[in-house]
């Protein structure tokens, strides 16, 4: 089963840390990526700050073009920072591997993928 691991946290925190601190967090990611790489294809991305985002909201009237507005979809305390997608045996295993990224400063959401295209199309 394919699962996504979605990472949420406070934006801007890591920019306030020393290089050594950031290196410790990066190491968690590099280790997980090494592990996932051994098992097959995976994808991961770190997102730019939400200030770089635009959101497309449905147009008011039927058939109207979507409205492009500046900023993220929702104003929330915890921001969507990045994600992984990979194949896991079951939920337990996905949670086990996701937990390796856990720090007191992020919340990780593990959510199965119903359908995937591109890299994640099932053969």
């Amino acid at each position: 089963m394919q699962y996504s691991i979605l990472i949420y946290g406070t934006e801007g925190l890591t920019a306030r840390l020393s290089d050594e601190e950031n290196e410790q967090v990066l190491k968690l990611h590099r280790d997980l990526q090494a592990e996932l790489g051994k098992r097959g294809d995976f994808a991961t991305a770190e997102l730019m700050p939400t200030s770089s985002a635009v959101s497309l909201k449905p147009g008011k009237r039927a058939g109207a073009k979507p409205l492009v507005v500046d900023g993220p979809f929702a104003e929330t305390k915890e921001r969507f920072l990045g994600f992984y997608v990979a194949e896991f045996e079951d939920l337990d295993e996905a949670v086990e591997l996701a937990s390796r990224l856990s720090t007191p400063h992020v919340t990780l959401e593990v959510r199965p993928i119903r359908w995937g295209g591109g890299l994640f199309a099932r053969s």
Binding site: L13, T14, A15, R16, L17, V68, G71, E75, P104
Partner: protein, 418 residues
């Protein structure tokens, strides 16, 4: 202590919003600062045991409000004034639910706090220093370091500045649209000058971390978070990021490098990508302004893989656009540099020399004039220009570069007299 660093990062992140709300609540900036510090001390004790609360801002606010009331009570019992007690009572009992923080009101409160720091009687430097102290929460020593002044002198300036703003009354009501824009423009200018101050003060040793530039970037990010659809604000942040992306490439063995001399592989290309995105977003609004044009100018340089690839025609168009809305001497000087590149040093010099009156105290005027004179082979005049630049307090890295130029002029003069 790793954990402490993380916790302090949390405090710093919520500080502007917390101080804005506390200032609204108690109408006393000093009290707000003291109460917030107290709340952080409590959090340092509590959070390692309980974990970081779901809403750190709400947690810190609740604790800070209680701390502020205690402080007021102590003050009141010392002074026995009923006015203070009235404030305590008025602020009591409205322990609003943490989730009830009104986002729309909050953004104007944060803007108001920044705007208070921009008191018109304060110099641009003191406005920045105050915002760094109050809003960003930097220590006096850090701020003094950023401005390259002695901590004691900075302490005195901050004390004076705080007295001045304590007497200023800026209403708490949500501002009108016009007033909000006026405040935003004032605050953006303050942040712009803060960045520039930091940028020119950066020395080779600390090129990696310049508190003024970093905080200016953070303040611009904070404003963008609160006001997500202002093209000039996007332009401002883009401009900072384009420029700050070059921080690691500006120096070589302590000497300041010109843009065309910098090793471009040392530019921060992740940061440049973010800047380009912001500029793209801004331009979608089709409401050009000074910061957007300046960011577009920076993007022309950032896009060029090598100095030779720079699109000088595009630069000239952009500088002409900038001149049309902001015909200041500095913009004219930069415009002249592009003209010199495209049409030769004589054409550039023709535009530079009329600026002597306005820019006589500006060292970059003299170094640029010196450069053009060198290109024209007028070594004696060039040397004179560089010597003038030396008298206008260049940084150590600039001094090195200028002295090299003077030496080059002299060796050329010696060759001529042989």
């Amino acid at each position: 202590m790793a954990e402490r660093q993380w916790l302090e990062a949390h405090f710093a992140e919520v500080r502007p919003r917390a101080l804005a709300l506390l200032t609204r609540h108690f109408n006393d900036l000093d009290l707000a600062e003291d109460a917030f510090s107290q709340a952080c001390v409590n959090a340092l004790r509590a959070w390692p045991r309980t974990g970081i609360p779901d809403n750190p801002l709400a947690w810190l606010l609740t604790v800070a409000r209680n701390a502020a009331r205690d402080m007021l009570r102590r003050r009141a019992s010392a002074q026995r004034t009923s006015a203070n007690l009235a404030v305590i009572q008025a602020s009591h009992g409205e322990d609003e639910e943490p989730e009830a923080i009104d986002q729309a009101g909050l953004r104007d409160d944060v803007l108001r706090l920044l705007f208070i720091c921009c008191h018109p009687d304060l110099s641009a430097q003191d406005q920045s220093a105050l915002a760094l102290r109050v809003v960003a929460g930097l220590s006096v020593a850090q701020i003094a370091g950023g401005f390259v002044v002695k901590p004691r002198a900075m302490e005195q300036r901050l004390t004076r500045a705080k007295r001045l703003i304590a007497a200023r009354s800026v209403p708490f009501e949500p501002p009108s649209l016009d007033e909000r824009h006026r405040r935003l423009n004032t605050v953006m200018l303050m942040i712009y000058l803060m960045f520039n101050e930091g940028w020119s003060a950066i020395s080779a040793e600390e090129s990696d971390r310049q508190p003024l530039c970093q905080e200016a970037i953070r303040l611009a990010r904070l404003l963008m978070d609160l006001f997500p659809s202002l093209p000039e604000l996007m332009g401002l942040l883009a401009l900072f990021l384009f420029q700050y992306a070059r921080r690691a490439a500006r120096f070589d063995a302590g000497r300041l490098l010109r843009l065309d001399e910098q090793p471009r592989d040392r530019w921060d290309h992740e940061m440049i990508a973010e800047a380009a995105t912001l500029l793209e977003k801004a331009l979608r609004h089709s409401m050009p302004g000074s910061y957007q044009i300046q960011a577009a100018i920076a993007s022309v340089h950032a896009r060029a893989a090598t100095s030779e690839d720079t699109d000088w025609d595009e630069l000239l168009r952009l500088y002409e656009a900038l001149l049309a809305i902001e015909p200041t001497a500095i913009v004219r000087l930069n415009h002249a540099a592009v003209v010199a590149h495209l049409h030769g040093p004589a054409a550039g010099l023709g535009l530079v020399e009329p600026l002597a009156g306005e820019l006589g105290d500006y060292r970059w005027y003299h170094t640029m004039r010196g450069g053009l004179l060198c290109e024209l082979g007028r070594w004696r005049n060039a040397r004179e220009a560089y010597r003038l630049a030396l008298t206008l307090t260049p940084t150590a890295a600039e001094r090195l570069a200028i002295n090299e130029k003077i030496a080059a002029c002299e060796s050329n003069l010696a060759k001529l007299s042989d």
